[in-house]
């Protein structure tokens, strides 16, 4: 096997491993920025393409998840909704599969799903940078990691996140949830 082939196989193996570990992250970013199914499929494909193309630039300085967030957000921010006639037919790249036994407590699950859908809708209404910050916050990233993704100082993250959270709370104030 020659060097380019080996490098290419290594890249494919790394890509597959990262995807299986961080597929949820890609899915959440796509759902937040592209609510409609067809748009989401389109955005997911763009994010995966950019991840693949950016992979040789990964230097290991940032955590893998932080790096994937950067690529995913940059792609989502540059992404434009395509007209249906310009959209190539796509197969869904990420499948959502129900696990056995998940049917239990269906009423509670439906209730939760509605609130999550409302949450995504609220995030989608925020300015794009605030939406990105809220996603990072909900996924429990530290201020430092958020600063690394956005390229701004940690203090600035604090100020912006505070505002974004208030805006989100305002959008979510009519939603009640009994766990």
């Amino acid at each position: 096997m020659n060097v380019p082939e080996a490098a290419s196989e290594g890249r494919q193996a790394l890509f597959s491993a990262w995807l299986s570990e961080h597929v949820g992250l890609v899915f959440k970013v796509a759902r937040a920025f592209a609510p409609a199914d067809a748009d989401r499929r389109d955005l997911i494909q763009d994010i995966l393409l950019q991840l693949w193309c950016s992979l040789p630039r990964f230097e290991g300085r940032a955590k893998v998840s932080t790096w994937i967030y950067r690529v995913a957000f940059n792609t989502a921010l540059a992404w434009r909704r395509k007209e249906t006639k310009h959209r190539a037919p796509q197969i869904p790249l990420i499948e959502v599969e129900e696990l056995p036994g998940a049917e239990e407590d269906t009423a509670r699950r439906l209730d939760q799903e509605q609130i999550v859908a409302h949450l995504y809708s609220a995030i989608h209404q925020l300015p794009k940078v605030d939406a990105a910050l809220v996603l990072l916050y909900l996924d429990d990233l530290s201020y430092r990691e958020m600063a690394e993704v956005l390229g701004i100082s940690e203090n600035h993250v604090g100020v912006k996140l505070n505002r974004a959270r208030k805006a989100l709370a305002e959008l979510m104030k009519e939603v009640t949830y009994e766990p």
């Binding site: 890509f15 995807l19 393409l49 950016s54 950067r70 690529v71 540059a78 300015p127 909900l138």
Partner: protein, 202 residues
């Protein structure tokens, strides 16, 4: 709902479900998208650069064959347009914003690229239409002069310059329309994004 409840829900949103993807299918799809994109870019370049180089070859051939110097100038001008396009595309391709950079850096680079595109389209008259137009004027002037000397010039020979003017007018306005409809909104959006990222940064 308080923030902790929201976070709990957020983390539980995929509970009872599994997200699966087939890396092989993903890679095949990615390679296909890459190939499609590269083919689109390649044929766009071939079309635009090729047209300029074809016109240059046309002027050069007639210029050398008939020993007419204005046509050689026209060939140099049109070839210059083609070379300008090739160099500009090469430089811009190297400047493409790296998506793995932080959002602020990537947005700044995107804005610089959009500004460059707007500059190119707004100034299409100076770097494209004027040199190509001068080439056409030289070509038409030379042909008309020869016909005039031979007493063969007809009013009908004005069709070529009138056609050129109409075509150039159309191309110019199409470019300005693209700036207004596609690039200015993208510029405003990217500027707003940058402003949002930078507000209170200092």
């Amino acid at each position: 709902m308080n923030p902790d409840e929201l976070k709990e829900l957020w983390h539980d949103q995929l509970a009872g479900r599994r997200l699966t993807l087939d890396a092989g299918i993903v890679l095949r799809q990615i390679e296909q998208s890459k190939r499609d994109f590269e083919a689109t870019m390649f044929w766009r370049d071939v079309r635009e650069v090729g047209a300029a180089l074809l016109a240059a070859a046309f002027f050069l051939w007639f210029g050398i064959k008939d020993g007419i110097w204005p046509l050689l100038v026209a060939a140099a001008l049109t070839a210059g347009v083609g070379v300008f396009m090739v160099v500009d595309r090469y430089l811009q391709r190297r400047r493409r914003p790296p998506y793995s950079d932080p959002l602020l850096a990537c947005a700044e680079e995107s804005l610089a690229q959009i500004d460059h595109q707007i500059w190119l389209l707004k100034n299409v008259f100076w770097w494209c239409l004027l040199p190509l137009g001068l080439g056409c004027v030289l070509f038409w002037g030379q042909s008309s002069w020869t016909l005039l000397k031979a007493g063969l010039w007809r009013l009908k020979d004005l069709e070529f310059p009138v056609g050129c003017v109409l075509l150039y007018w159309g191309v110019y306005h199409l470019n300005q329309y693209a700036v207004k409809k596609a690039f200015e909104p993208r510029r405003q959006e990217t500027e707003a994004l940058l402003q949002n990222l930078k507000s209170n940064a200092e």
